[in-house]
Symmetry: C2
Subunit: 200 residues, 2 copies
Amino acid sequence: MPEQNPIEHLIGLLARLPGFGRRSARRAVLKMLMQPEQAMLPLAAALQEAAAAVQPCRICGNLDAVNPCGICRDPQRDHGLICVVEGVSELWALERAHAHRGLYHVLGGTLSALGGVGPEDLAVQPLLARIEGAAEPVREVILALPATVDGATTAHYLTDRLRPTGVQVTRLAQGVPIGGALDVLDEGTLAAALKARRVV
Amino acid sequence: MPEQNPIEHLIGLLARLPGFGRRSARRAVLKMLMQPEQAMLPLAAALQEAAAAVQPCRICGNLDAVNPCGICRDPQRDHGLICVVEGVSELWALERAHAHRGLYHVLGGTLSALGGVGPEDLAVQPLLARIEGAAEPVREVILALPATVDGATTAHYLTDRLRPTGVQVTRLAQGVPIGGALDVLDEGTLAAALKARRVV
């Protein structure tokens, strides 16, 4: 098989996706080639449709086929409650947990002195503008940022910037994950969980 | 996020591919959505191109964008030597081992009493016709069938059917693990088994 025939080309593109290597890409392509009409063309169409339709929400930064996104335009959700996340992947994870009934705000990263990421590289100003201009007053901003040094730095910075707005700022609880065995947890999590212990 | 918006639809299709679950499909879609022009549209085009161009070779049954396939039309290969394989996936595995310089013949399965697969369901007659009608006489047929009961049954059956043609029939050397599928074997083992093939 010469390189860069259509099969090798397709395998090469699939193998670039995260979680996919050449071996699994080959298996997937072979399976699809067995039924091109049922497997390949619908996938091609879905890719084109998503590429054409999906864009970042102009309010919160979520990716969706409508703009504003389905969450921002949902009247059932609490528009006075905004959960700040690092990226869309964290937003989707929270949605799968069905635990947050408010809106979101995608920062687009965290502050990083080493990585050269400053406040102007993140959607900080849009967050403040959004709170100022909100039709329904924003009561609370939940900072759902990663439990890393950069995440903590970003949370501190945002808390300072949000103080003049008078909005209550909260952050996710830290502790032992549900179902998590204590002996495989890292020391940092254990120490944090112990420090934040609560009366039963 | 409502079900069956373009993003969920795409994730659902990707998650059906072997080796892909919903979690990795989500990660892949999110990564592609970050750069739709560079990642999604080329993949869509490659899928369409492969679906349109790739078909089974009318001589050997390999999948390729040309018909007869690149292997069958390669004058550098030994046209007097045919390696019989269960499927295209095994053919590709042998090609990756760079150990076989002849042609192939894809059976499309193995005989299976339990599975109700008989000789008429496999490309047995086309193999005999191919040997009879070959411009360059076929000297040897290598049976590269799985080391399973069905594989051994199929090898026996083919040996009987090939006897009247006077072609030498060989099989892969033992060394292929019992119950092992050819397409997940490492190339070194495949190459060694091919090199040490024995007369049946």
